[in-house]
């Protein structure tokens, strides 16, 4: 029996970890390039959850009934609008503050996240929302007899797949293309990159857009998987994804994925075997401990402070 619980928690942890990883990418890329926490990223994820539900309702109302088509359309539209959100946030809360004090962009991002949260509350109401199940069915892995199995739903496997594909694409984009080279150059030395003809403002915008697009993928799939959400989801999920980014080493893409998986698995085992009430406390404690003892994370490079 224990083996089944263990296996099931492993599956849940992998799914949770993939979600954290997808959202953590947004934090880690933005931090890597401008050295600041995008505090509004959790709200971007929350917005994408709402968008996916809205588009799902609209598209099914139009009479499209084939599940894969609906899924693709919802994904496309949600990613598009969420990416616009990311772009606008950079434009409104970060770009005017280049060269300001370090605290200023952080405070303006907190302001933006308050605005987004309240805007959704005013626009959509404070109650929790839900979506009808779109893709049903699951894979079962039987152990010794038909009573004992580990179950993974199609949506769950899609989440894991999407995070792997998304990470792979991003990694390729960053390491092999001209855009990625410009990103890395901006990350290393913004003034020098500008002198060499890189449009750094555009690069920073693109990074916000990419991060938001990944959060949008997570938003769509999580909404389809769990079925319900409200305007508060951005906060806790955002902090946990940030924990994942820090755990893996902020600024590092593979680190975000690794951190997400470690956090997801340990949270899932913690709530499965020890205590469900304190699972958020556990995640926040990991955050605090990592930042205190190893702020560079697992795969990150320690920052050297120069005078």
């Amino acid at each position: 029996m224990d083996l089944i619980i263990l296996g099931q928690q492993l599956v849940n942890g992998l799914v949770l970890g993939s979600i954290y990883g997808l959202i953590a990418v947004g934090y880690t890329m933005v931090y890597g390039i401008i050295g600041m926490i995008n505090f509004a990223h959790g709200e971007v994820y929350m917005i994408s959850a709402y968008l996916s539900a809205i588009f799902l309702a609209v598209i099914t109302a139009w009479g499209v009934s084939s599940a894969p088509v609906v899924l693709l359309l919802v994904l496309f539209l949600t990613i598009f609008i969420t990416a616009l959100y990311g772009w606008s946030i950079e434009r409104v809360a970060y770009r005017p503050l280049r060269g300001s004090t370090r605290l200023a962009p952080l405070i303006s991002a907190i302001g933006i996240s308050l605005v987004l949260q309240d805007y959704v509350r005013l626009g959509q109401g404070a109650k929790s929302q839900g979506v009808p199940p779109l893709i049903e069915g699951s894979f079962r892995f039987y152990l010794d007899n038909p009573e004992h199995y580990i179950q993974i739903s199609i949506i769950q496997s899609l989440i894991i797949l999407a995070s792997l594909v998304g990470m792979g694409t991003l990694h390729y984009l960053m390491q092999k293309t001209a855009l990625g080279r410009a990103c890395r150059a901006t990350q290393q030395d913004r003034i020098m990159a500008r002198l060499l003809g890189v449009d750094t403002d555009r690069i920073i915008s693109i990074v916000f857009v990419l991060g938001s697009a990944m959060a949008a993928i997570a938003g769509v799939l999580v909404t389809l998987n769990y079925g319900s959400f409200d305007f508060h989801v951005g906060f806790v999920t955002g902090i946990k994804a940030f924990t994942a980014a820090v755990l893996g080493g902020i600024g590092s893409l593979p680190g975000a994925m690794l951190g997400g998986l470690i956090l997801g698995l340990s949270e899932s085992f913690f709530s499965g075997f020890i205590n469900t009430d304190y699972k958020d406390v556990f995640a926040f404690s990991i955050l605090v401990l990592v930042l205190i003892f190893k702020p560079s994370g697992l795969l990150g490079v320690a920052e050297v402070e120069k005078v």
């Binding site: 926490i37 907190i110 406390v281 926040f284």
Partner: protein, 431 residues
């Protein structure tokens, strides 16, 4: 002109796309209600304000206006002695504040008490963020510690209101030091996130440790007393009711008046304390540390004790706010101490001007009383706070009221005329 129209059109279309789905298509069960007019209005407002903004920035009048509003001076040398006191205004204000409870209705009196509590909280956070430059996003933790210090101190140790004040303050200061130690090495964003995590951990523990804190259902807090006199109709804590002792008719607002007066005295003394502190070596060290930590340490300022004292002092003031909050509510539960509360206090400090004591006090009063006055707008309160935070950071990052201090400052035109061209100003890359 053509450029202005073009740009505002683009902004309008973008705003329509961004705000369209969430405001125009409202989820109703598994279906959506169509509200096409809402995104159109939003897009129109955004486009028009963008248009006005571009026109204003281009015209000569607008440049002058922005100089007045945003205080950007391009030429000249600013010398300020930092001495500007208006004692008449100060004394008038204090006397008016003491007279207030005898004029206001009970409802407005409780608003005033809440406003003063926020003044306390904002002053506490101002020490940490404004003076010492340590962005604390979990300030609500100390508020919670103060409030629960009173509630649980009564339940387990039998503490009354007057002993709860030093106890809550001391407990919060201890938590401040405990949090301060591990985050000494961090600054900026990491510090903000760790304090945020700390604040959430405190709230979650208060919420989940049901056997000790009562969990989500909260704890009872005894009403305050003075010299054994109670403000209830009948004595419950073994004393004598206030109205009986003085032989006057009972009124339910005695308790609020009493709380208000004690709170007012406390706020005045803490303001005085903080204002004086800023002129002492410790206050100077905080502000110097905010500006440049490395320079401070090379000049021999002990950054450990300086930071810890800022945390402890800020936490103490926050804890006092918590004790009074508990006393005025008569009941505490964890929902009063969410991250939103931290963000709200931060908004007050930011709008008042990081580091400016008077500005923060005014902002706290305005931001708690204004939503009560503008009841129709109260549902947009958070939205407006958030917007104000963003705009403040863009236009006046030092706050509406700038701290006055002895200073010498060159205008940017003077600076530009006397500095040799640097790499950045010489090779402006434009696209």
């Amino acid at each position: 002109m053509k450029k202005a129209i073009q740009q505002s059109l683009i902004t309008g279309v973008l705003a329509f796309l961004v705000f369209g789905p969430i405001s125009g298509l409202v989820l109703a069960g598994y279906d959506v209600d169509f509200h096409g007019e809402r995104p159109l209005i939003i897009a129109l407002v955004v486009a028009l304000s963008r248009f006005a903004f571009i026109l204003l920035a281009d015209s000569k009048k607008g440049t002058q206006l922005s100089q007045i509003i945003f205080g950007r001076r391009d030429g000249g040398v600013t010398v300020s002695s930092g001495e500007s006191h208006n004692y008449y205004l100060l004394f008038g204000g204090i006397i008016a504040a003491f007279a207030l409870p005898f004029i206001l209705s009970k409802y407005w009196l409780s608003v005033a008490v809440l406003a003063l509590i926020y003044v306390l909280l904002a002053m506490g956070l101002n020490i940490v963020v404004g003076l010492a430059g340590l962005l604390d996003l979990g300030f609500v933790a100390f508020y919670a510690v103060g409030a629960y210090g009173y509630a649980l101190g009564f339940q387990y140790l039998g503490l009354g209101f007057w002993s709860a004040i030093p106890f809550g303050a001391f407990l919060a200061a201890c938590f401040g030091v405990v949090l301060g130690f591990p985050v000494l090495r961090m600054h900026g964003d990491y510090l903000a996130i760790v304090t945020l995590g700390f604040g959430e951990i405190i709230r979650l523990v208060l919420n989940n440790w049901v056997s000790f804190t009562g969990g989500p259902s909260g704890v009872f807090v005894p009403p305050p007393t003075i010299l054994g006199l109670e403000f209830t109709r009948r004595a419950k804590q073994g004393g004598e009711p206030f109205h009986q002792f003085f032989d006057i008719a009972y009124s339910g607002s005695f308790r609020t008046i009493f709380l208000y007066l004690v709170l007012l005295l406390l706020v005045i003394s803490i303001t005085f304390f903080v204002v004086r502190l800023r002129k002492m070596p410790l206050g100077r060290a905080w502000e110097a540390l905010r500006e440049d930590e490395i320079a401070c340490r090379s000049l021999g300022i002990n950054h450990v004790t300086t930071k810890l004292s800022a945390f402890a002092m800020g936490a103490m003031v926050g804890g006092l706010g918590g004790v009074f909050f508990a006393a005025s509510q008569g009941f505490v539960n964890p929902t009063s101490f969410t991250f939103f509360e931290s963000a709200l206090i931060l908004a007050i400090v930011v709008l008042g001007g990081l580091g400016s004591t008077i500005g923060v006090i005014v902002a706290a009063l305005v931001l708690t009383v204004l939503p009560e006055l503008l009841r129709d707008f109260s549902q947009y309160r958070v939205l407006l706070f958030g917007l104000a935070m963003v705009l403040m950071m863009i236009w006046r990052p030092r706050g509406l009221v700038r701290p006055k201090r002895p200073m010498f400052k060159l205008g940017s035109a003077v600076v530009a005329a006397h500095t040799p061209p640097t790499a950045e100003s010489n090779f402006k890359v434009s696209h």
